[in-house]
């Protein structure tokens, strides 16, 4: 217990928290992010209907404009989409799906990346060469391209209907697998720097096994670069999910993420129903911008010399 309180006081008195409190951009970005996450968590209580439940949708309510324009109805503050769903509810539920996919995909990336990065950094030699060449090749082909191709082939193979049930799992796995090199490279670079230090020699001398040294001694010292890329990666994963959904390879219209909402509204902007695409887009951009600003700030504060510029 004292251990925990000691850590807590260390955190509260730390430089990072001090600088955080003094930075208006970081504070605003953090507040927006918290608001979005809360809105996503509380979606069932905040929204007036469940957009995933066909019984609650009335097709007669389709394409009602937002409440402040002529023809708007008070029951649908941001208007309705083509199927008669309340757009605000659909956005809240969509936010939920987008954030869940983003976070879980990053967890897959992180797990793969940490294991591969630790192993190739610590062992070096042939193992290292193999994984790093693989990472080079995979990055050169662009992760979005790989994700598009993998999902397209999977969709064509299992048929559209079965695919819709599997979409959320497939998106997490594909975005997760496509981006592991980012983590593996970062971890490997830190491991190479840490490996030379004396505490690692000491751990080896007292006879600890390689996995213990990697997990208990080296890994905790690579946490700050990990934190920085994780913020950027969550933003990227959410963008990738939106892009894949926009192409029809992601979440189905019956269970829309922000990307599929934008996609379903796209053909109606020509007929004047601008709100179906606009509001989910604003939500998506604000969310990603908040995460990216926070990531930028973290990078400046922790300064792990990951990126230039």
């Amino acid at each position: 217990m004292t251990h925990l309180t000691a850590r807590l006081t260390a955190l509260l008195g730390s430089d990072v928290l001090y600088r955080f409190r003094r930075d208006p951009v970081a504070l605003t970005a953090f507040a927006i992010l918290v608001a979005f996450v809360l809105a996503a968590l509380l979606a069932p209580w905040l929204s007036s209907m469940n957009p995933h439940d066909p019984a609650q949708i009335d097709i007669m309510n389709s394409e009602i404009p937002p409440v402040w324009t002529s023809g708007g109805e008070a029951a649908f503050p941001l208007g309705t989409d083509v199927q008669g769903r309340d757009l605000l509810s659909a956005i809240l539920y969509g936010l939920r799906i987008s954030i869940v996919i983003g976070v879980f995909a990053v967890m897959v990336q992180m797990t793969l990346g940490i294991v591969i990065g630790l192993v190739s950094g610590y062992l070096g030699g042939k193992v290292d060469a193999f994984f790093m060449r693989l990472a080079d090749i995979q990055l050169a082909m662009s992760t979005l391209m790989l994700a598009i191709i993998a999902l397209a082939v999977f969709k064509a193979a299992v048929g559209a209907e079965f695919y819709e049930d599997m979409a959320i799992v497939m998106l997490v796995l594909v975005i997760g697998f496509a981006e592991w090199p980012q983590y593996a490279r970062t971890i490997r670079a830190s491991v190479l720097a840490e490996k030379k230090k004396e505490y690692v020699d000491a751990a080896r001398v007292i006879g600890l096994s390689a996995p213990t040294i990697m997990a208990r001694h080296i890994l905790p010292n690579t946490l700050s670069p990990l934190l920085v890329i994780s913020t950027v990666q969550v933003a990227n994963a959410i963008i990738s999910e939106a892009a894949l959904s926009f192409l029809g390879l992601g979440m189905p219209v019956t269970m829309p993420s922000l990307g599929s909402l934008i996609s379903s509204g796209f053909e109606y902007i020509f007929s004047g129903a601008w709100w179906i695409t606009t509001f989910p887009s604003i939500a998506l951009i604000t969310l990603i911008l908040a995460i990216n600003l926070l990531g930028d700030w973290l990078r400046d504060v922790l300064n792990p010399r990951l990126f230039k510029g």
Partner: protein
């Protein structure tokens, strides 16, 4: 001698990657639908089917079938598209110029905007324009490319009616047989404007930041300090001495971006219904047009591998300080 070893190693790796891609392409062909049903339909008896299967070699061992696939692929035969009823490679050759137009259009915008702006940000980091550019670049990174495209359409096509929102237009000029470009007529260019801006929007923040940071690094170097000490004119120092040396890393990164560019053409082309490779691929996926899907994967894989190998080779040739992979250091 090291350079020759490096060359051979790099080429071997390229061949290996293409081999893996072809293996993936082949296993897709094996698993997506039944080629027999596409050919003969449902109304053929089981015994006839089996006979046909034998004749087509579908019962041969995996390796034998793969070898045949590879042999055909090397000779430029990747099967016949179910939808277009034409060889898949011919369809791709038809769509290719449209995508090249789009990529060239985006590249022109990227170079014209990011080079001056990146240099300015490095030379005058405190000016309002630099601050604005750096702020805008983080907003730019946060907007997905398809949203940029949608809002360009909404603003310039739906609301203002200035520019067309889809397709390449009618007046394309054939520069060589089978290769039409939209760059030579007003109508063609008007169709190119929005898609090119949309495609470039995702790369602009990246390149502005890259040029800025590379140039800032170069400006700190001793030889630049020496150039100042000699009393050279600021322009000469910035653009002759400093800029020349920022170009190399920028070109390498730019070359590697070609993969990302192709991925984003899929999104841009889908929004603008641009009759290029990306739009064709998404349509092929919807129609489960297996030969076309495979052909696309193999052609795009080839483009990746070739550009990456060439960029790597150029980089090593131009920059002798790079340690060759596999060479004794």
């Amino acid at each position: 001698m090291a350079i020759v070893a490096f060359l051979i190693k790099r080429l071997l790796q390229a061949v290996l990657v293409m081999f893996v891609i072809s293996l993936i392409g082949f296993s897709i062909q094996d698993n997506l639908g039944d080629p027999l049903r596409e050919l003969v339909g449902q109304a053929v008896s089981e015994a006839e089917r089996e006979a046909l299967r034998d004749r087509m070699g579908l019962n041969d061992p995996f390796l034998e079938q793969y070898w045949r696939f590879l042999g055909n692929a090397v000779q430029g035969d990747l099967g016949v598209s179910y939808h277009f009823k034409r060889p898949a490679l011919d369809v791709i050759a038809d769509k290719f110029p449209a995508t090249v137009d789009l990529v060239i259009g985006a590249a022109i915008i990227i170079v014209l905007v990011s080079v001056p702006l990146g240099c300015w940000c490095a030379i005058q980091p405190r000016s309002w324009l630099s601050q604005a550019a750096m702020g805008a670049s983080i907003v730019g990174i946060s907007i997905p490319v398809f949203l940029t495209a949608i809002f360009l359409i909404y603003l310039f096509s739906v609301n203002l009616g200035w520019l067309p929102s889809f397709g390449r237009g009618e007046s394309l000029v054939e520069i060589v047989p089978g290769w039409k470009t939209g760059f030579l007529t007003g109508e063609g260019i008007s169709h190119l404007v929005l898609p090119s801006i949309a495609l470039s929007s995702i790369f602009l923040p990246l390149f502005i930041r890259l040029i800025r940071s590379e140039m800032m690094e170069v400006l700190e170097q001793d030889y630049i300090r020496y150039a100042w000490a000699k009393g050279l004119a600021p322009r000469r120092v910035w653009f002759l001495h400093a800029f020349k040396n920022t170009l190399l890393p920028v070109i390498t990164v730019g070359g590697v971006q070609i993969g990302l560019m192709l991925a984003y053409t899929i999104l841009t082309e889908t929004v603008f219904q641009w009759p290029g490779l990306g739009f064709m691929f998404i349509e092929a996926v919807t129609r489960v047009d297996t030969p076309l899907i495979i052909a696309y994967i193999i052609v795009v894989g080839l483009i990746f591998v070739v550009t990456n190998t060439v960029v790597d080779l150029i980089y090593t040739l131009v920059n002798p300080t790079v340690r060759l992979v596999g060479a004794p250091s």
